[in-house]
Structure formats: C-alpha cells, structure tokens
Amino acid sequence: MSARNSTTRLRWTWIDAVLIAVLALFFGFLFWRADSVFSYNWNWASVLPFIYRFDEAAGKWVPNLLMEGLLTTIRLALWGILFAGVIGIVMGLARTSKRLFFRLIGTFYVMLIRNVPPLVFVFVFVFFIASQIMPTLAMGERVQALSPQAQQWITVFFGSPKLIDNFLLGLICLSVFSGAYVTEIVRAGIESVPRSQIEAGDSLGFSKRDVMRFVVLPQAMRNTLPPMAGQLIQLIKDSSLVSLVSIQELTFMAQDVQVSTQRVFEVFVLVAAIYFVICFTLSQLFSYLERRHARANR
C-alpha cells in the first residue's frame, strides 16, 4: 500500500472488484427495502412545479417557493459575507491592537461565538434581536412607505418588502456569527505580514496608523482572500440553520414543500443537490482562481 501522490497512477486491482460488489449489494439492498418496506412511489414531476410555476393571470413563468428560497439564500450569503467582513475587519483590528481593552473585546467575541453551537447561537440571538432590536428599527414599515420604484429595487437586493424584517433578522444573525470566523481570518492575515515590513515602514517615517493603512493592511487583505472565499461557502451552508427560526430561505421552503406534498425524498434530494452544485462550483472556481493567481505571482 503506497501513499497516493501526484505521481502514483490509479490502478484497477482486486480491491476495486470487491468494492464494486459491495456497492452494488448495498444499493440493491437499499432499493429493495425502499420498495418493499416503504412502498415509495417516485414522482419527481410533482416537485418541479415548486421551482417555477406558470402564472395564468400574468401569463408567464413565476418563481415559486423553492426558487424564492434559493434567491433568499443567495441574498443572505452575499450580504452576509459583506457585513461579516466589516465586523471581522473591525474585530480583527481589535484583536491585534496594542490596547488590552480592545484585545479583550475581540477575544471575548470570538471565543463566545466559536465555542457555542451554531444552533444555540441562532436561537438565542434571534430571540434577543427579534424582540428588542427589530421593533426599534421598524424596517418593515419604513420600506412599505417607500415609492413603488424604490420597492422594486429593494425586492431585487433584499427580497419582498413584506419579508424584509424576516430577512434582516437572518442577515444580522448570520453576519454576527460569521464575523467571528472572519475575525480569525483577518487576524491571521494581519499577523502573517512579516515584521520586517512594519520595521521598514517605521524607518521610513510612517506613523503607526499609516503603517497599518499603507503597509500592513494591503498585504494582509491579499492573504485573507482565499480563506474568505471558504467562509463564503461556509456561510451558504450556515444559512440553512436560520430556517429553524422561520427565515424563508431554501431549507425552510424545502420543509414547507415536503410537508405539503409528502414527497420527502425528491424534495430533500433536490435541495441537497442545489446546495451541492452551488458550493462545489464556487469551491472549484475559487481554487482555480487561486492557482492562476499563484502562477501569475511566481
């Protein structure tokens, strides 16, 4: 048994034959049980109308539940990574600051969120925020009061104005949660800038703040981009957790559709496939970009 590295060729051996036999037996057993014990009627066609449906009144294809859930998920992910990035940069600077007070705040924030289960955090945070902050902000009413033009734009970027409270709740929750991980990424990025750079900046007469602004941060940001890409993918997956507090994203819609059609298998497999395609494509894209960037920089 030799370790597989780039020069080892894959060979067909007796192990493959055994594995294929095992796989065939396993799936055969699964399908047999599904048929005989479960008596499941496969019906993929009944699920497809939940992605897009033909609206008779409007005379065109209108996104249905699953598609709207997907759009909400994408919006949560993109806005979430933006806000998490902002929170992460602020807290990352706090964690690497010279002053103990800021370091304590940053460390406390990161340790709190990283050591508490995501589910518990979502429940606690949403409970606190929904009952205290949201009424104060009252975004729902403010948005309803805007002109139809503005509401159109809001719909594209944030989702339907009726659900904007809901959306913002999920957004704040996910941003604060991801912010802790982004903080660590930013901290690692800042600490990865060699001390010689800071010393060179000092010797050239830069002030402490200018060293940070012109020397450290640009190099640090370049180092944080690959892990941030990974965090975006992680955020897309974490957005499924907020479905448990009734934020109307893809997983929530999946459970909705599953309950009304009883097509457990088709709905969940479809939704898992959607998540898989998105995350896998993004991760391949990012690693391709990384490789190109590394080659260009050599």
């Binding site: 048994m1 030799s2 370790a3 597989r4 590295n5 080892t8 060729r9 894959l10 060979r11 067909w12 051996t13 192990i15 493959d16 594995l19 294929i20 796989l23 699964l30 049980r33 014990v37 479960f38 705040i105 924030y109 709190l112 050591n115 508490v116 289960p117 995501p118 589910l119 518990v120 955090f121 429940f123 606690v124 409970f127 606190f128 009952s131 205290q132 902050i133 104060t136 993918i233 897309i236 997956k237 957005s239 499924s240 957790l241 479905s243 448990l244 997983t251 999946a254 459970q255 599953q258 457990v264 298998f265 969940f268 497999v269 898992a272 998540y275 898989f276 995350c279 896998f280 991760s283």
Partner: protein, 242 residues
Amino acid sequence: MVLLLLLILKGANSMGYQWKWDKVPRYIYRVVDGELIWGPLMKGLFVTLDIAFWAGLIAMGIGLIAALLRLSGSVVGSAISWCYVELIRNTPILVQMLIFYFIIAAVLGIPRQWAGILCLAFYEGAFTAEIIRGGIVAVRKGQREAAQSLGFSGFSMYRDIILPQAVPIMLPPLGGIIVNLVKHSSIVSVIAVFDLTTQARTVVSDTFMAFEIWLTTAAMYLVVTVTLSLGVAWLERRYRTT
C-alpha cells in the same frame, strides 16, 4: 457590542422582565431527601456528551477508512472516498440530518438517537478523513523511500515509520474535530433527540424564562467546549514536533 448588551438589558427591563435566576438551578439539579436528582438540562447534557462520544468514535473509524481508500491506488476506492468527502463538505449539516432521518433512517429502520449519532459521525468523518490523509501525505516522501530501502513493507512501515510522524501533525485538527462534535451535536434537536438544546427549548417553552435558560445552556456548552479546547491545547504542547 457593549451598546448591544446595554440595549438588550434596557429592552429586557422596559419589558418589565423579572429576572428569575433563582428558579434556574432546579432545572440543573435537585436534592430530594438527600439524593441528587439531575434536572432536564443536566440530563440533556449527558445525552449530548453520549452522542458526541459515539459519533466521535464512529467518525474516527469512517475517517480512517475513507483516508486509506483515498491513499490506496484503487480507482473505485478513491472515487468513493472523494465523492463522500465532497458530498458532505458541500451540503449543509441541517439538510444532511433531514435526509438522514427522513429517508435513510426510515428506509433502514434505524432508531432516532442512532440516526442522529450516525449522521453526525458521517459529517465529522469527512473532515477527519481529510485530516488523516493530510497528516499521512505530510510525512516526507524520503521517509517512505528510506523505509522501503531498509526492507520495511506495508503494515510495519506504516506502524513504525509513517504513523509516528503523521500523528503529531494530525492531533491539533483532530482536537478541533472533537470540539466540533460537541457543537454540532446540537443539530440533533431538529429530529427531537433529547439533547441539551432540545431540553433547553422544552424548558423555555414551559417556563418562558427564555433569557436565563438560554444563557445557562450557552454557558454549559461553553464550559464543555472550552475544557475540551484546553485539553487539546495541552495535548498539542506535549506532542509538539518542533
């Protein structure tokens, strides 16, 4: 953050909320007739630790098998392992749990708690597989060649040369996996396994003491995970290679 906290406290006070911290301990433990009875929160914690323990054991096994499959030269083995890891890494754990419980466990007839344990094990197993594979691949190729030239082969090469060098590299991330197991075990509450999170939700819905109970639950998780993290850090220091 301080502003947020102040806002929360102000909101809680303006709601006319009476903090009932004195009522919380009875959900953790009670002493009846000189006998210690664990309250629902503690029972939930025991279930959580139980789930995390068994899932961890099975995850290590699954990870080892998947890593070895990938490292062997077999086509089908590599393919299975790669598909498994990519599938788990690119789908949310909630969706995996729902699929596992509603489909796989229903078809194979697996009881509820074991469905949760197995799903968690498969989830963490993917990450474990990557860690083990990374650790083994990180051992320099020269070591392998030297071992082969000295007459070591196969199993004894792994046992005496490769693994002693690979394991210290693997230990820090594996420690992280153990902490993740405890954290992600809370996801079994969606299939109504009576772990700490489920018990907390039940107690909150019974007593409406949401603030106190959730803060207590978070504190309990914190105690467990921070202890585990400290233990892992101690292990790291002991087995540091450089």
